[in-house]
């Protein structure tokens, strides 16, 4: 009985976490393109006005960024001003959670068939490199904190949400620290 009540809350927490992380990633993509020369060099290979989407199938959270030129990204939140050019779609929220909680690298998730690519594969390769770059900024400290190792099924909502929020803040502040340093 208890398990039945907890499960949906755990799922809810996971969904919220992924949604938060999509926002973090979206903002971080914009930030990294402003400060990191190597990410920007990669991004320059994308056409101007190029819209990139990352989403959870069938109709879950999404993040949309636009390449506004000269390697800079603009984060559009979760709605695109026009049809996107490249879409990376997680087959299930559980897979998005693996990637967004840094348990699985984006490139590994590709190799593991966790997601689908719709669009030019060359651009997908480029975006994956940019995302890897982003992860390398974010990853070390989060892992050191051992904040999210494996999703604990016995975790109750408030605790989970709390730690999700903590991670969210930590990731955001870590990111800014690392980038500024």
């Amino acid at each position: 009985m208890l398990a039945k009540r907890i499960q949906p809350m755990a799922f809810q927490a996971r969904r919220l976490y992924v949604e938060l992380m999509f926002q973090v990633m979206g903002r971080a993509l914009q930030a990294i393109s402003e400060v990191d020369a190597s990410a920007r060099r990669e991004a320059r290979g994308l056409p101007e006005g190029f819209l990139f989407e990352m989403m959870v199938m069938p109709d879950g959270s999404r993040l949309i960024v636009e390449h506004v030129g000269d390697g800079r990204f603009h984060y559009h939140g979760n709605s695109a001003p026009r049809p996107v050019d490249l879409s990376i779609r997680f087959k299930h929220i559980a897979h998005a959670f693996l990637v967004m909680s840094f348990q699985e690298k984006t490139s590994v998730a590709f190799a593991n068939d966790r997601m689908l690519v719709d669009g030019d594969i060359g651009y997908a390769v480029r975006m994956t490199r940019i995302l890897n770059r982003l992860e390398s900024f974010i990853l070390p400290r989060v892992v050191a904190e051992r904040a999210v190792k494996e999703y604990p099924s016995n975790l109750r909502l408030p605790e989970k949400l709390l730690s999700a929020a903590r991670i969210y803040l930590k990731v955001a502040s870590n990111f800014i620290e690392t980038v500024r340093a």
Partner: protein, 395 residues
């Protein structure tokens, strides 16, 4: 528990061995087809390879309704449209591709048009655009290398826009691959060597790249063993049909392996080199393979070391200390390349090809970085890395 997860899929029936072609009529009838069209190229026809296929069908009362033998080396949207037109006019109901990569890719694309409708194959490009099973389709490979008979992708050049359109769907897979030693018996030495090294690369990359999995590993190692044992035998005795069959099977097995676990930097560099310098794919594979393995070495030491068993056999494997096996695997591949160079001048360096100029290396590196295969390379490749590998492969 690790995060390991994989998918493995190969619904293609493999019909292999002596008199395999004679199974075509039975297979097609079983699929409810009786009016097949053959898609092939001039080279295959000139080599007389269509004769046994046609004979096998006619003897069983199965008439080949139409033969299109003008597939160019780079399959194009126009050709696909033309063939689909003939198919419809002649009221065909099934396809048999006889040939190498481009005949097979062309037939896959034709099957999309004649099954899904329309004249413009470009509309179906990308992933997930094909939603239904297509017409009955058999493939008879005439090279032992590409593995296209078991891959769910096709590449067609859009001649008007001069871009390569990728197609990806499990519906592209043929119903059956017919592997008959007669079909590769007359393959000239340098093509035999280059295509076999393509298969060798498919298996080696499948076994060492990021998406490796237990099922594709089994196919990859078995393919490597067959190629290591049979390739030089065939080079010395081109009419040795037993070893020809071994190579043909190895190519299909390597195809099954890599279509489920992808390839890496060797293919990324090879695709770019092929596009810029117009070198055959297999030649590029043979050329880059050891250099890329050396580049990846520390990331793939364990799996590469394991391959020594299949490359050199149990005696050498047992006699080599575990810590030296990965290097020994690379030496085995280098040794094989030296033997091939002796027998048919298959180039081992970019300089030896005589078709690449040193100033092109940067362009090749840049293009390789946009290739889909680079994503599955076990080590994350930077532009500098790609340049460094190319410089080592230069001479």
């Amino acid at each position: 528990m690790t995060n390991q997860y994989y998918e493995f899929f190969c619904p293609v029936k493999v019909i292999a061995g002596k008199a395999a072609l004679e199974h075509i009529p039975y297979e097609l009838t079983g699929l409810g087809a009786g009016r097949p069209m053959i898609v092939t190229d001039k080279g295959v026809r000139a080599a007389g390879l269509l004769d046994p296929v046609i004979a096998a069908c006619e003897e069983s009362g199965l008439e080949i309704i139409s033969i299109y033998d003008d597939v160019p080396p780079d399959s194009s949207t126009g050709v696909v449209k033309d063939i689909a037109g003939i198919y419809r006019r002649e009221k065909c109901d099934s396809l048999i591709a006889v040939g190498g990569g481009s005949a097979i890719d062309t037939a896959k694309a034709v099957n999309v048009l004649v099954s899904e409708g329309g004249d413009n194959i470009a509309e179906y490009s990308g992933a997930g655009t094909i939603k239904h099973p297509l017409k009955p389709f058999l493939v008879v490979p005439t090279t032992a290398g590409t593995g296209s008979e078991v891959t769910s992708v096709a590449v067609i050049t859009d001649t008007a826009k001069s871009v390569k359109l990728p197609f990806s769907s499990s519906f592209l897979l043929p119903n059956a691959a017919v592997i008959d030693p007669r079909m590769t018996l007359t393959l000239p030495p340098h093509i035999t060597a280059a295509t076999a090294m393509d298969a060798m690369t498919h298996a080696t990359e499948a076994f060492t790249c990021m998406a490796k999995n237990p099922l594709s590993d089994a196919y990859a190692t078995a393919a490597i063993k067959k190629i290591s044992t049979s390739l030089l035998e065939v080079m010395d005795n081109p009419k040795d049909s037993d070893n020809r069959l071994e190579l043909a099977q190895a190519s299909t097995m390597a195809g099954i392996a890599f279509s489920n676990s992808m390839v890496g930097l060797v293919h990324a560099l090879g695709h770019a080199t092929g596009a810029i310098c117009h070198l055959p794919h297999g030649m590029c594979m043979s050329l880059y393979l050891p250099y890329v393995l050396e580049y990846n070495l520390e990331t793939i030491r364990a799996p590469l070391g394991e391959l020594l068993l299949y490359l050199e056999g149990p005696e050498v494997y047992a006699a080599t200390p575990a810590s030296r096996r990965a290097e020994a695997s690379i030496s085995a591949i280098r040794k094989l390349r030296d033997e091939l160079f002796k027998r048919c001048r298959l180039p081992r360096t970019l300089k030896e090809t005589g078709s690449v100029e040193e100033h092109q290396l940067d362009t090749i590196a840049e293009m390789a970085m946009d290739d889909g295969s680079v994503m599955f390379n076990p080590k994350e490749v930077t532009l500098e890395d790609a340049r460094a590998v190319l410089r080592r492969a230069w001479a």
